[in-house]
Subunit: 451 residues, 3 copies
């Protein structure tokens, strides 16, 4: 992995994953997880068809070998081998011949984008169909067409993968990517590529929190994870859903349902202080798996980071969302913001000033420039005064950075110096999230298959 | 009643009520209530002079047969028969002759509006006087003037009327109009006309709340009602004081003292989403009977709806506030906003999502377009997602409409669909306001006279 | 004292105090307090070296008789007798000869303001040094220089003074000025001059609160007072740090750490309604002794009033902050705002309407213009309605003034009239701060020396 510029590697991964026919179940997801595992060891879970997960049931597993529509002359005019988008996702098997007039009811196009093939699925209502460009459809002559979908819908499994970066505490941060879309690059192969790099980068920082990376099919995958991890949910303190991470638009942060969760404040701080053009959106109950994490029963502090947001670009859910649509530079930029945000989140704690009555005498502890009165008051000393003044157990370091206008790094550095001088102690609530000796062993969990 | 356009009927009622000499007591109020009763059955209450009501005492009843000032030649130069505004309200009887110089102390004019007759009263300090145009006064020659006020101030009653539209719950909404002003059309005959139509319209909707329409003299009437209904006050959840409902200005909503009462939020929502030009005012302790309902001991969620607000137009409390000053169109517009506002208020409740962990599967309940991925996500489905996500017992349907930007009707429709699928239940607090079997019998109360 | 224009007297005091060599201890402070005592009787406290005060220790007492640097020809080229700023405050004694090259390490200048002498100190790290204009330094020839600082650093005392204006209650307002700066006029002789006039003015008003004026060295003086008055801190309800009170800039109010303390709201109200150009700053943990009063353990409602704020003008901490830099007019203006602010604070209380159900009948109590309907509703009557409506124990008179837009004086006057009619009573919480018979005897404390 090239630590200097992960861009080319991320883009190469997008290209490698692009041809696979993913869906919410099946071998396309399995193969995707195998490839991710080459970069980031995964625990892969297989959940049987029929398993009750919250209000849902794991559906039959779908696999597909081939599919086409052949014209009266026998030419494959719509061909799964050219693009897996050509088949309606979860199509039931079919092998028949019908006139074009009858076939039309099963054909999906985008009349206003006549060159593009749309992406369509029918997961829970049995159906079959093909997707094609309007221009292709318009050129089809009347006549009888051979229609073949060589798919299976049968008892099997739903498959998802996890990678855990163990931290000093068992409180968790979850980073989630959906892995159910077939040949769509921005939605969500770019998100997968960024998440892999992010996990590697965080592991190198000896993080405070335990970070859990989840690669699962959208909706049913998140619901399955939530159903199977009921006892773990209380540990999930923060989270981020990563999607559309590679297009050339500016970044968009969509808040958690809470709106003022710590992850919301961290992303806002990092995006605003970075000077990047960006958009901040309030929560809405549609989009990606933040819908599930932020359902009212869970109401987790999980936001969503994208570049151009969900359904916000004309290439969305079409054949134009191909590897050319995403850029290495954009993925690098998304990764950089993620790293900066988690660097803030990971250090953002509340402390209590142990000498809160008047200012403590910094000079006798070697923390103050003893020659008073210099006009060039130093940022580090200002940061110490701010941290001392606001460390009453109510204000986090991020609060202090925002209130003072000082960089978070300066504030965190001041807190470290003051901790070293015993002028601060961890806030009791934060200290309660104390390191669990068993935590480190979760690293053992990061490789293997469970079911 | 012409349901298609109630405008002409409302204007005709204003004209019919206009000549009556109303005051805070007396036969002018009684006759006004009799006429209202022709449209809307009233329970009329007679409260004896001397009755202690909160900090006040019901005053002597005032009636007047005639009044005039005759010039030295015997001509009635100020004549009650021409306009009841010419007599200072609650004038004690007088029959004397005095020079103009002495009479001037009893004459009230508007020097800056020299053609108009002002409206003046002296309810609680014994006095007599006449009101006239400055131009009339300026033309009076010196000399001795005959002065006659044929009035009585004697033990009697204060009279007010009520009409109740029974609802499914005993929680009440109060709509209040003052009926104490003599020949003033906008202040408040237009309010009376709108209230009558509003009561009729609400009765046709099988409302949730019980609606109480109060027609009472200003200040002392509201105080009397409050004093006599102490046990009922807790049921009054919302209210609206209607006045100045017919002038050609745009609508003005004055908030309750609370400022964020549900009625305040409903009126704000309806006025803003309707696109009408309008004004929103914070509460102030002067104006109409919201002063009493919003006194700190009651602090009810009662706002006030007018067109041009209290004392805000040059015709206010003058002879220019005549039937020509109010328009049928304006009254129809005021009525429409009232109807829309109460339609929102009446359906605005909080629910609890019964499947709050993750999204419930709408498809298996027939609530979701099964072919996922269509770019034309439907408003109804968005509304269901919003209602599910925010129905945690904290958010009302109005909250959800405002947060989502969806029309209240779409949100209320989604809630109905989800209730039908058992995905919502009423919020326990709202359910506590459960239908009282005795409520319907309050309809029996809507006709008759009590005292 | 000229009550008509205290400006000349304040400026004369600045000039009289200017030559004294003050520091955080020593005879310069003692002499300063003796002079203040001529205007305002002080209780002077002497706290021995070595006394532990919060996190600090009272340092050795510093006194200085003479100091100079003589050039090779024997001329005093840097001379304490010319300005006490020439010596680094708290310089240890020295009597030696050294070449200029070696001496430079002990010389402080302002290269960017080459004509000015900086003000520098080294209270807690033993050091010696001289301050001079860069131009003076540049003109010094090489050679050996005689260096003499005839100072003493020995066990002694820290000295501060207090003056108490007794009030009707023992709750206190503290007004604090630092007295540790040598020849600096705006910082803080102007503050001292204003505080003296303010104390005299408040004493003439029979105030509600007890006002404590503190004249103490910065930082260590405030810390010493806080340490020695632990039992009294709970009584300190409000406070103001006065500094930089005489420059020609506009006023600046810096909020307490709480940001919405009553003193913050009072100063904001007075500054905004006065129409003066002014600046409002949020709290920051640097500046004057608000740093100590607003440390998180105390978190008192203490703001700071200056003209141009701390370190905000080029003359700050230089020889240019001389008596010409402050004007009598500016000090008069600062004094006027202080007086107006304390006049509001002193009367700002919460009341409870004793007749909260409906409006009380003002007419029968002689509080209402009985002839209803006059269009020129009087401010006094509006103020009574506002006070009655909002006097629920939650709203102070300042709240009511701000909500109604009426002048504070009108609101306070209305409250007085309503109290006279028994329509208001003091809010129980405020009444709890009841007059303490012993309070008046605190006047006996205002003269004398303790240690």
């Amino acid at each position: 992995m090239n630590a200097l510029d992960p861009g080319p590697e991320m883009h190469a991964l997008v290209e490698r994953l692009y041809p696979l026919c993913r869906s919410i179940t099946g071998n396309g997801v399995r193969r995707t997880l195998e490839i991710i595992d080459e970069y980031l060891p995964l625990t892969v879970h297989e959940v049987p068809t029929g398993t009750q997960v919250l209000d849902w049931t794991v559906p039959a597993e779908w696999n597909i070998a081939d599919a086409y529509v052949a014209d009266p002359a026998g030419n494959r005019v719509i061909d799964f081998r050219e693009s897996n988008l050509h088949v309606l996702g979860y199509s039931v098997p079919v092998d028949t011949t019908m006139p074009l007039a009858e076939l039309r009811a099963h054909l999906h196009t985008l009349p206003e984008q006549p060159d593009l093939v749309p992406y369509r699925t029918s997961y829970y209502a049995p159906a079959w169909g093909f997707c094609l460009a309007q221009n292709t459809l318009d050129a089809l002559p009347d006549g009888d067409y051979r229609v073949v979908i060589d798919s299976t819908l049968a008892d099997g499994h739903l498959t998802y993968g996890e990678h855990v970066v163990p931290g000093r505490v068992t409180d968790e941060v979850i980073v989630s990517c959906h892995v159910c879309h077939p040949s769509l690059a921005n939605d969500n192969l770019a998100g997968i590529a960024v998440a892999i790099q992010l996990a590697t980068a965080i592991a190198a920082t000896d993080p405070w929190y335990t970070y859990r990376f989840l690669f699962a099919p959208g909706t049913i995958g998140a619901i399955t994870w939530l159903a199977r991890n009921a006892e773990r949910i209380d540990r999930v303190k923060h989270g981020l859903v990563l999607a559309c991470a590679g297009d050339r638009g500016s970044l968009t942060y969509k808040q958690s349902r809470r709106g003022d969760a710590e992850i919301d404040r961290v992303l806002r701080h990092v995006l605003r202080t970075s000077g990047r053009p960006h958009t901040e959106l309030e929560f809405s109950p549609y989009g990606y798996d933040e819908r599930q994490f932020c359902s009212p029963g869970f109401n987790l502090g999980v936001g969503s980071l994208t570049r151009t947001p969900y359904a916000g670009y004309p290439e969305y859910h079409t054949s134009a969302d191909n590897p050319d649509f995403v850029s290495a530079e954009s993925m690098v930029d998304t990764l950089a913001v993620c790293r900066e945000a988690f660097a803030v989140l990971d250090r953002n704690r509340r402390y209590v000033n142990t000498s809160p009555f008047g200012e403590p005498q910094l000079g006798k502890r070697g923390l103050y420039d003893s020659l008073g009165g210099r006009s060039d008051a130093k940022q580090a000393q200002l940061a110490m005064l701010w941290v001392l003044n606001l460390s009453d157990g109510e204000h986090s370091l991020l609060d202090i950075a925002e209130r003072s206008g000082l960089p978070f790094d300066a504030v965190a550095g001041a807190a470290e110096a003051l901790l070293g001088a015993d002028l601060l102690v961890a806030c009791p609530q934060d200290a309660a999230a104390r390191p669990d000796p068993a935590t480190r062993s979760t690293a053992a969990e990061t490789k293997g298959v469970t079911g």
